[in-house]
Amino acid sequence: MRIPCPHCGPRTHEEFTYYGDATVRRPSATGPDAEAAFYDYVYTRDNPCGLHRELWFHQGGCHEWLVVERDTRNHDIKGAVPARSVFSADDAT
């Protein structure tokens, strides 16, 4: 696979480290259901057969985390954006 790093250009996926689902969000540690929420966050996954938004770290490049949208059926990559932008946008909303 070649991941289109928005900073470095397309690179072989060997340069990246995979982390997994980019749609889960770290819950509040103080809520009454914190433990259940963290269980969901840490352990359960949609694991879709199809488009998957996932985190990759450009370990062998710019050291940026990316959110890559990729089809798990055929590995087609739709795009990659800096994780910072995705997760900062989350904050804004």
């Binding site: 540690a29 269980y39 800096p82």
Partner: protein
């Protein structure tokens, strides 16, 4: 060279190549393949089949060859299962037949043939079950010896390999007429083109046919095309290069046989090179593979694919048989008859399985050849075909003497690469072939690979696909004038098997799969094509069913009375042809298997004769033996004692170091670490633990507050990369709002532990005298910038892993070697001693510090005695799930110290705790010993372990058992801190 035709062919008759086969000497010419040279020397029997050990000859002239497999070369360079049809002849070539004993001609296991009624598909699933103990002892060894094909070398491969990357706009796979045409039009647009072909000569079937392009021989046209391509700067030609796999996003794997045409690669050159071609577009022009016909004894040497016969005639100038019978179900077979006649061979008959009307129409063109509308029922002969039995449509039978049967069951597009990404080909009922359907992104297909079987179609589709591929990359050009070519026809009426067979009809030659096997499998319910394949092993030999797959599918369809399209296909997977593992490994073998990381003191340590060991990627000094010390034990004890009594030096640069700056630096590390850092003052260092979000221990280390908004944190050697990545993850996805910057400075700082009662004295000699190291000015856990005597800057940390008065001093990486030498020299009269990992381990076990064997990913902070460090005042990674009842359960195995009750007894890591007097069984398993050492200070073996309810059991005696090695001993549970529990020494 009795079968060599006097003239013609793409061989160099000036360059004779001598070679041996089974020890006997022969000769051929440069440009020959081993197969053509064998045929030229009238060698017809080349190998034995897998199961029945039947005599086998040469079926094809290419990489689809199932039969003619040999062991090439000898000794450490022996290569089993090498296709004679692929090997380029070189002077000194050495080949040996395989899978036969004692000789190729008299193979004892040919007796298997007599039992063939027993050895049907799946027979082994039905027997060898009784008695149960006989399988491994009797049956399996017999089967294993009989199975397998060639013998692998046992010695290390003396050759080297490498891997490389190449980028292009258009990759053209196959340099036959379609591929050359595609490369030409693409390259003329200015696009960057790579043209690769598995053969050692580019040209494909242009070299094998007597056809013309614009009035000139096809081979000449090909030579001109190649010359033009060679003249273009952005075109790269790769002969001897098989594109073996298609991977995601335009990555194509290829292997270039750089020097396989030489006895030994020239000095400094690789034997083979794996290429990763990165192509925006690809044109697949891989041609087609001819199908054998299925009739009795169709595996006899001398029965050959008709197209291969033409290759031998036209490209290699070899007449594979003097008297031939051509058996075909299509027009192309007739071309072979014509070529045979043209080459001076005799064609005894053409047997065409189609309607008499077609046959007689074609026969008009060959007035001298007997044409029979009918079929070959079987071939006869011992180790070679001697005659065929033929039945005509009218019912008359003939026996025709011959020593060559040229058979043609039509051509199957070589579309393997179109389906490597999971796309399945489509059955074209009209032409009775599978054709590419959905293609991998960026791939197009031209010529025979797409079912366009004639030369004219190959050129047109090649030109067109080359042009469109280039256009997709933004390059434009125009179609050249279409050349005039010899007329030909690819009409075919498929004959999947003869109606009446004499003898075994082979579908998969190498694996000895016959029509009977296919029928039996279907009968027994193995009806899916995948079941059929797996049950009969059809298509699973080294040729991966290149000549048998389509026939197998068609026969299954016939048997099930369903259309071929409904039967489906098996999946083609990389590699297209087998690839040497060495080529895929490339440079990364032996000592270069993985990179080695050297600590800054490495040269100094090796000068001192240190013994080194792997620590992850690092090579670290294990101990520093002195004259007379022969094992690890003496130097280790000596080094430990020195640290406890004088002063020791140890390179600790391998710890991960991350420099964290910015206004939110404190907030950031507060969230990363489980313990409190808010109260850490500038100029002070604190031990810290990190958890994973699931609440288990992740890593430990120290954080030094270098300035108001600057912290230097350390990680364990093992987790340095993971912690750094984790910090980025946390910053970029969890807390992007934090204004914090950090970078790994592991390599920037060479860092040495100076440990022992005289460490202060030693440091005072190397530091600027103005530097105050007194307890008041620089107490335990202090940190700061200092200067060396020569004025160079350094950092000093008063931290101690050994439990002694100790410091760690850091200088920029390139100054590390100088500093360690300065320290070592300056401390000679203080008794300074370098110490290695073994002593470091003893020192830390004596102090109860945990390392990787305790931080093993299965332990919690509570397990390791850090429970009280966990902050309850803040949220940090792991704070929520770390509170789960099961993670803080006191009954979990928790950290303890152990010492042997018998002071002479030894301990070993991995022993398990069992209560004294309890049975040595799992119900009584209470944990395990994580770390052990011989403490030269306590003069006995001690250790650390994880014991159920451990901290509550100090003073109790427990067995530690090692049933694996038959050892056990009684230990006393104690605090993990064996030495100086009050910490007086390190504060000294």
């Amino acid at each position: 060279m009795s079968s060599r035709i006097a003239q013609g062919g793409a061989i160099n008759r000036q360059q004779v190549c001598r070679f041996t086969f089974d020890g006997a000497g022969y000769s051929g010419y440069a440009g020959d393949s081993l197969a053509s040279a064998l045929l030229a020397n009238d060698i017809r029997l080349v190998g034995r089949s897998f199961k029945y050990h039947r005599p086998r000859g040469i079926l094809s002239a290419g990489s689809e060859e199932p039969n003619a497999l040999v062991e090439l070369r000898s000794g450490a360079r022996r290569e089993p299962n090498t296709r004679a049809t692929d090997i380029e002849l070189y002077d000194g070539l050495e080949a040996t037949s395989q899978n036969r004993w004692p000789s190729l001609k008299f193979d004892v296991q040919a007796i298997n043939g007599l039992f063939s009624p027993l050895f049907v598909a799946g027979f082994y699933y039905k027997t060898f079950m009784w008695p149960a103990s006989f399988w491994e002892k009797v049956y399996e060894p017999l089967i294993r010896r009989a199975a397998g094909l060639g013998r692998a070398a046992l010695e290390a491969d003396p050759d080297h390999y490498e891997k490389s990357w190449a980028h292009c706009d258009v990759l053209v796979i196959g340099a036959g007429p379609a591929g050359l045409a595609a490369a030409l039009t693409a390259a003329r647009t200015g696009a960057r083109v790579i043209l690769a072909d598995e053969n050692f000569v580019l040209g494909g079937r242009c070299l094998a046919e007597r056809r013309t392009i614009d009035g000139q021989p096809a081979a000449d046209w090909a030579a001109q095309a190649i010359a033009e391509l060679r003249s273009m700067p952005d075109v790269r030609l790769f002969p001897r290069t098989t594109v073996f796999g298609v991977f995601d996003d335009g990555v194509y794997g290829a292997v270039e046989r750089v020097n396989d045409h030489l006895p030994v690669p020239p000095e400094f050159q690789p034997r083979q090179r794996v290429w990763r071609f990165i192509a925006k577009q690809a044109v697949l022009a891989s041609g087609a593979i001819e199908r054998p016909l299925v009739f009795g004894n169709n595996d006899l040497p001398g029965v050959m694919l008709a197209g291969a016969v033409r290759t031998y005639l036209n490209r290699y100038a070899v007449l594979p048989g003097r008297r031939a019978v051509v058996f075909t179900d299509n027009d192309d077979g007739w071309t072979t008859a014509a070529d045979l006649v043209a080459a001076g061979g005799q064609v005894a008959a053409i047997v065409d399985s189609r309607e008499p009307v077609i046959v007689s129409e074609l026969a008009r063109r060959f007035p001298d050849i007997q044409a029979i509308a009918g079929e070959v029922n079987g071939a006869r002969g011992g180790r070679h075909v001697e005659s065929v039995e033929v039945t005509s449509r009218t019912g008359t039978s003939h026996r025709i003497d011959c020593n060559l049967v040229a058979m043609s069951g039509g051509w199957s597009p070589t579309l393997h690469l179109t389906s490597h990404k999971g796309n399945r080909p489509r059955w074209d009922e009209e032409r009775s072939i599978f054709v590419p359907d959905m293609l991998p992104t960026g791939m197009r297909v031209a010529g025979a690979a797409n079912g366009d079987m004639t030369l004219g179609e190959a050129l047109v589709t090649g030109f067109r696909q080359g042009l469109t591929a280039a256009a997709s990359c933004g390059f434009s050009g125009s179609m050249p004038a279409l050349p005039r070519v010899t007329e030909e026809s690819a009409r075919r009426v498929p004959l999947w098997r003869v109606r009446q067979a004499l003898g075994k009809c082979f579908v998969d030659f190498q694996n000895d799969v016959t029509t009977d096997d296919v029928e039996l499998a279907e009968h027994e319910g193995y009806r899916s094509i995948e079941h059929l394949k797996r049950y009969t092993t059809l298509g699973m030999a080294t040729d991966q069913g290149k000549t048998s797959g389509v026939t197998g599918i068609a026969l299954l369809a016939q048997r099930r009375s369903i259309p071929v399209a409904a039967t489906g296909t098996t999946t083609f997977r990389p590699p297209y042809t087998p690839v040497a593992m060495g080529a895929l490994a490339g440079h990364h073998r032996g000592m270069d298997f993985r990179p080695t990381r050297y600590a800054p003191s490495h040269r100094w340590a090796s000068e001192l004769g240190a013994s080194f060991t792997e620590s992850g990627p690092w090579l670290r000094a294990q101990w520093f033996p002195r004259a007379g010390e022969t094992d690890w034990f003496e130097p280790t004890c000596r080094e430990v004692k020195a640290v406890r009594s004088t002063v020791g030096l140890c390179d600790v640069s391998t710890l991960g170091k991350i420099d964290v700056q910015g206004p939110d630096a404190l907030k950031f590390i507060e969230r990363l670490y489980a313990n409190n850092f808010a109260t850490l003052a500038v100029g002070r260092t604190r031990y810290g633990i990190m958890l994973r979000e699931d609440g288990f221990m992740f890593d430990d280390g120290t954080a030094a507050r270098l300035a108001e908004n600057r912290y230097l944190i350390t990680t364990t050697t093992a987790h340095a990369v993971q912690v750094y990545q984790h910090m980025h993850l946390c910053h970029q996805t969890l807390w992007p709002e934090l204004d914090v910057q950090f970078v790994s400075v592991t390599d920037q700082w060479a860092q040495f532990a100076v440990a022992g009662p005289r460490s202060r004295a030693l440091l005072q000699r190397v530091l600027d005298p103005r530097c105050d190291l007194s307890n008041e000015a620089f107490p335990f856990m202090a940190c700061g910038e200092v200067a060396l005597r020569n004025g160079e800057p350094a950092r000093l940390f008063r931290i101690s892993f050994s439990g002694e008065l100790a410091y760690e001093i850091a200088v920029p990486g390139h100054r590390g070697d100088a500093l360690i030498r300065t320290l070592h020299d300056a401390g000679q009269d203080l008794g300074v001693v370098p110490y290695g990992l073994e002593a470091l381990n003893v020192l830390r076990v004596e102090k109860g510090h945990v390392v990787g064997s305790e931080l093993n990913g299965q332990t919690t902070a509570h397990d390791l005695g850090f429970g009280r460090m966990l902050s309850t005042q803040k949220d940090f990674i792991g704070s929520v799930l770390g509170r789960r009842a099961n993670l803080i359960d006191p009954a979990r195995p928790r950290l303890v110290g152990i010492k042997t009750v018998d002071r002479n007894a030894k301990l070993a890591g991995g022993m398990h705790f069992i209560p004294q007097h309890a049975q040595r069984s799992i119900e009584h398993d209470q944990g395990h010993v994580t770390s052990v050492c011989y403490s030269p200070i306590l003069e006995q073996w001690i250790g650390l372990g994880l014991l159920t309810n451990g901290p509550d059991r100090h003073g109790e005696k427990v067995m530690v058992v090692d049933p694996l090695r038959g050892a056990e001993t009684l230990v006393e549970i104690c605090s993990p801190v064996f030495i100086d529990p009050e910490g007086a020494r390190l504060r000294g």
